[in-house]
């Protein structure tokens, strides 16, 4: 039962990315519909960056931790498919978002 706690990293890491995608797609619709006319571009940019960096960073950290724990706690027959089918897609999405945040911030 205790080992199953480590499985929680998968839905947690996935949740950060699902949230990130939902906010990126539906957040702007909410902002632009609620405030027709002139917008505070600075605020939109700042909040977008905070959310992107936080959620993508959380996704990367949680999936790294989850992958590490899966590899040391479970047998390879279970841990390798977990890494390939669960953590690799989460890494991909969260790293794309993280890279986007770096580009938008002119850091990279």
């Amino acid at each position: 039962m205790k080992q199953l706690v480590f499985l929680l990293f998968i839905p947690l890491a996935a949740l950060t990315q699902v949230l990130c995608i939902i906010l990126m797609y539906y957040g702007p619709a909410w902002v632009y519909e609620k405030n027709s006319g002139l917008f505070d571009e600075h605020k939109i940019w700042i909040y977008s960056m905070i959310l992107l960096l936080f959620l993508s960073g959380a996704g990367v950290v949680l999936s790294c931790l989850g992958c590490y724990l899966a590899l040391i706690k479970f047998k390879r027959i279970l841990s390798i498919p977990m890494v390939v089918f669960c953590y690799v897609p989460i890494w991909f999405v969260s790293l794309v978002c993280l890279h986007a945040a770096f580009i938008f911030s002119a850091l990279l």
Binding site: Y32, L38, W45, W91, H99, F104
Partner: protein, 232 residues
Amino acid sequence: MKARIAARVSIVIPLSIYVLIIIAVGDDLLLLSGITAGREERAAVAIRDNVNAFYKWGTLVFTYHYLDRHYATSRYFTQSDRNDCKEEFVAALTDALERHACVDLFLLAHTNNYINWVSPLPEPLRTKIRFVYNTGCHNESQGQEWLNLGADAYIGHPGVSQSPFFYFYLLRHWVRGNPLQSIIELGNERMIKKFYQLERISFKRYDADYAIRESIASLVGNSNLRIQDVTQ
């Protein structure tokens, strides 16, 4: 698995994925590049037309910080309908032209006629307009009109363009201080590469040659212009 190997695997895999993402994006990394000289001399005004909220947001988050960081004054407008923001845009442009030696315009909109908003401005102000980038479809032909109005250089696209690909490279290399001629060559080359990649990924359902014909950017005016140049 041993803890040390597990830790290495948990770091190496995401790092490898990140390297692949950087390669896929296909642009050089700026790596905290500094601000080019003469920031206080220049201003920028950008405008986005009324598209869906996700596109409005995407254009804003990409553009906003580059302009804010590399120009003494930068204003960004997002329209809610076709004539929205006209007064604010013209007022911001006039103010920027009065207070700075040169002003760049980023017209991030589908086929547009913002030139009609700018043409009534007094000539001494209009001649301070330096560089105009227009993402609009079929707006390549406005180039000579912008030059006649006083701009030093203009970049536009000939047809139903997929200009965001080009704009991504243009803005990043423009703020780095590269001359327009090299930016247009690099931007077009990398945009074409992306079109062919899309064609391969979509199993030829995406027509890269058509996209290239419609989107390839062209430049009129001063091809050696750089962001740090002060023109009159």
